[in-house]
Symmetry: C2
């Protein structure tokens, strides 16, 4: 058992839209991801998802509004809600979600990451 330093972990990878597993508890993963640009509209049928911005800022587009997230802010997106993350500049986020979550939810494309690395 040891502490996890977010900045040290973020320094270990450069890829965007490729969540890394930084912790596991109660059937959930703590994931870290670097985001830049626009992702893909998707939803998770059975899982709520938390985005917390550690560095930079992130826009979460929803069908009826946009939500801006800055450092020190988080958003919980309930299951079934379509969303599109957009990061104008590089953004570092922490995700909390069940182990079963696929990053692109109900969509499979070139951004889908089936197997996540542990860092």
């Amino acid at each position: 058992m040891e502490q996890v330093d977010l900045n040290e972990k973020f320094a270990l990878f450069d890829e965007y839209w490729t969540p890394k597993i930084a912790g596991e508890l109660n059937g959930q993963y703590v994931k870290l991801a670097k985001l830049k640009g626009e992702f893909v509209w998707h939803q998770h049928e059975n899982e709520d998802e938390l985005f917390m911005v550690i560095k930079g800022s992130l826009k979460i587009k929803l069908k009826d509004k946009d939500i801006d997230l800055n450092e020190g802010q988080f958003l919980i997106i309930p299951r079934g809600v379509e969303h599109l993350p957009v990061a104008e500049e590089e953004c570092h986020v922490l995700l909390f979600e069940p182990k079963s979550v696929l990053n692109t939810g109900n969509v499979k494309n070139e951004k889908t990451t089936e197997k996540l690395d542990i860092i």
Copy 2:
């Protein structure tokens, strides 16, 4: 659905060792707590627990070692592991744990908080 700003939420309360519910997802709570001083040795039989330091620093004493947590660091304490949080100065932490968790785990005393406020 709206974003949660950690600093805004921490400004809403002053009590120590009294976690507040700041979010709920997948049967888990995101809780915020201000800590100062020494808590009580306890363990959670069925729940893993995550402590993330948002401000200040926190020592988690375990039976075989101490782990120091600073801003931007988290620790996952597996179920069944006895621990004692100690904060020399006021410390702000985010907790992520199942809704069933009682703050003092297997111990009940004056620090036990049965019903948590939502902030």
